[in-house]
């Protein structure tokens, strides 16, 4: 590095430190964060086991963070070493299942959102004597693949619940916003909405580009003034939709699938009307816990039938009950 650059970097670092010491924020920030002190509790005294948790999550999605936290909570309680991994590409996810088989794990929890790609390797795992639980996606495929249990919601039914809600509140025209083009589960949700509320149109955005998502929704609302409801399929996109409605000068209301901490606040403030909740924390928790139960006591939750974790609605009336858990980042 050249001398003047060194000097610039050093000056910059010193300057920022000096300002940092002098400029504490009087409100917000970590200092205000409540320390809720997560309970210690006892850990199971069964032998330590290794469980692979393999999803189709894109990195950095708040929804999957909740699933992971549930899985980690169960793992901590059950004396399980959890190996979390994920890849949105079907073939890559299938490969992750194969590596778990190679590593001779004691159990595998897997999402079957892309069943055609992943099922073959799930069958291999079962053949190798590794119990598998399915979660989140693949309600029609988990039994064929040989999984012992399924935790999640039927995306089409969840979509229909949202469609019924639109009819109930007297919406006239809605858009259903899909953040990943060609995603089977997301398409099924919007299809479900359409089953019960035909006046809906799909709009596609790029989930990894939040300002771009906002402008796309804004332009759709500007183009079609008749739209009075925006349905998004993930919490971050609902918050972007609130901005888009504002920018477009539209009076459309926003409803969404799935929650996170910020969204719970938005429901409380009346910016978002409702969220279809599939309890992602529960999906992660049960998928791991069931593997432990199966290994230690031969149990299956749901008794061979899918265990539905949703769709439940969160709206202004019951948001308070969810709020304190959302602050912990677990709802």
């Amino acid at each position: 590095m050249i001398r003047w650059q060194k000097k610039a970097v050093a000056t910059g670092a010193a300057l920022s430190l000096a300002i940092a010491l002098a400029a504490c924020s009087s409100s917000g920030g970590k200092q205000e964060e409540q320390n809720n002190g997560q309970g210690g509790g006892n850990v199971a005294n069964t032998p330590r086991m290794k469980i692979a948790f393999i999803t189709h999550a894109a990195p950095g999605d708040t929804f999957w963070d909740l699933v992971r936290k549930g899985a980690e909570a169960a793992a901590a309680k059950d004396n399980v070493e959890l190996q979390y991994s994920g890849d949105p590409e079907g073939a890559n996810q299938a490969n992750l299942v194969q590596t778990a088989i190679d590593a001779k794990v004691d159990g595998i929890a897997v999402t079957l959102a892309k069943p055609d790609a992943v099922s073959a390797n799930v069958k291999k795992a079962v053949a190798a004597g590794i119990p598998v639980t399915a979660l989140n996606g693949g309600i029609e495929h988990w039994q064929d693949a040989g999984a012992i249990a399924y935790f999640g919601q039927d995306e089409r039914i969840a979509g229909q619940a949202a469609g019924d809600q639109l009819t109930k509140v007297g919406a006239k025209k809605a858009i259903c916003v899909i953040q990943e083009q060609g995603h089977v589960g997301l398409e099924a949700r919007c299809q479900g909405v359409k089953d019960k509320f035909p006046a809906v149109e799909n709009v596609y955005i790029t989930g990894t580009d939040m300002p771009g998502s906002t402008t796309t929704m804004t332009s759709k609302l500007q183009q079609d003034k008749a739209v009075d409801y925006v349905v998004t399929l993930g919490a971050p996109f609902a918050l972007a939709a609130v901005q888009a409605v504002d920018k477009a000068g539209s009076s459309a209301k926003v409803g969404t699938f799935d929650t996170n901490k910020e969204l719970v606040g938005a429901i409380k403030d009346g910016k978002v009307q409702w969220a279809v909740d599939q309890q992602p924390y529960l999906q992660g928790y049960l998928a791991v816990d069931n593997l432990w139960l199966y290994k230690t006591n031969g149990n299956t939750i749901g008794g061979g039938k899918a265990t539905l974790t949703g769709p439940a609605f969160i709206d202004k009336d019951n948001v308070a009950a969810v709020e304190k858990f959302a602050a912990n980042g677990t709802r």
């Binding site: 940092a20 924020s25 990195p59 950095g60 990894t208 939040m210 332009s219 500007q222």
Partner: protein, 347 residues
């Protein structure tokens, strides 16, 4: 003999003044301007909402989101280098600002300053490693792309306990930061995002630097032929590292817009946007091989991309075909660009 010599001198077209039209047509951005006009007219005819004043604001904002980063990307390409880490670098800058301010409970502006140091530092690292190793910038910045993508996720989870940075909306300095980076104002019925104004300002400054200053000449020189530039005394190393640091600065500015627009930043964002920036620069007349291009062109390129992207929505076409329309329009714009440029070169 002497008379022949005089005759050749006056007839020499290398020193003779060309007509204004010919000089205008030989500018790198002229092809993209024609392309933009074609796209504009096309959507004005096919999409009724495209004509409304509200839509203009949205289109300009979308263009500014791309165009802001296309400015340094174009400069870098004229200087003969690539940067694949620009998309995630924007996210890194936003995350750094948000996480620092929140974790240390300090004024948001302190977070912004730290983010500036980090963002420019990333650029400096790219430039330094490039000059040090002599590897293609494609490889060096691909490495940085993955490193930043991983750090964005990993560090955010460690600090915030989740995959998005904590909201800084209620912290000191947020409202002033928002006023600077992410506010909106009205001219008549047209509402304009402040980012659009900043974009125009930065395009003007970068254009002036490129066309009217010694540094601008250096950038063209290192992009055209680095060895020849070094031979005539251009500080190649400093120019290239400086260009990467410029990218860092703009990534910081865009990252601050992201942060103050949403108050929290999702750590997985930004992947794939590096190509959009490069597309804007190339559609705007930058050569992939360096040494030729324009900043105004990059702005027009961003405008073409934004008009096409939102035009498809404004036209109300079936969304399944969205990407296909987008690709087709971009190809058409680029081909118009090429035809105009070739015709201009013939003159």
């Amino acid at each position: 003999m002497a008379s022949t010599l005089t005759a050749t001198t006056t007839a020499d077209d290398r020193v003779g003044r060309r007509s204004i039209a010919a000089r205008l047509l030989s500018r790198p951005e002229i092809g993209s301007l024609v392309g933009a006009a074609v796209v504009l007219v096309f959507f004005l005819i096919t999409a009724p909402t495209f004509r409304s004043i509200n839509s203009t604001g949205t289109i300009l904002y979308q263009a500014a989101l791309i165009g802001m980063m296309a400015v340094p990307v174009a400069l870098l390409m004229i200087g003969g280098e690539f940067d694949l880490s620009t998309g995630v670098a924007v996210t890194t800058a936003g995350l750094t600002g948000g996480l620092f301010a929140y974790q240390f409970s300090v004024n948001v502006w302190v977070g912004a300053v730290v983010a500036l140091v980090v963002a420019v530092g990333v650029g400096a690292f790219n430039g330094w490693l490039l000059m040090r190793t002599g590897l293609p910038s494609f490889l060096v910045t691909l490495g940085t792309f993955f490193i930043l993508q991983g750090l964005n996720l990993g560090v955010t989870r460690i600090l915030a306990g989740t995959v998005s940075s904590n909201s800084i909306r209620d912290m000191d300095g947020f409202s002033s930061g928002q006023a600077v980076f992410a506010s909106e104002f009205k001219i008549g019925r047209l509402s304009i995002e402040i980012l659009v104004i900043w974009w125009v300002v930065f395009v003007a400054i970068a254009s002036w630097v490129l066309l009217k200053t010694k540094v601008g000449n250096w950038i063209f020189a290192v992009g055209g032929d680095a060895a020849a530039a070094r031979a005539v005394g251009v500080p190649v190393k400093r120019v290239k590292i400086g260009l990467f640091m410029t990218v860092g600065f703009f990534a910081w500015f865009s990252g601050m817009h992201l942060l103050f627009n949403q108050s929290s930043v999702q750590s997985g964002e930004g992947v794939g946007k590096e190509f959009i920036y490069i597309i804007a620069a190339v559609v705007g007349g930058c050569l992939l091989t360096g040494g030729y291009g324009s900043i105004v062109g990059s702005a027009v390129g961003a405008l073409i991309f934004s008009m096409t992207q939102l035009g498809v929505v404004y036209a109300g076409w079936n969304a399944d075909w969205f990407k296909a329309f987008l690709g087709l329009m971009l190809l058409l714009a680029t081909i118009v660009n090429l035809v105009v440029k070739n015709r201009a070169d013939l003159r």
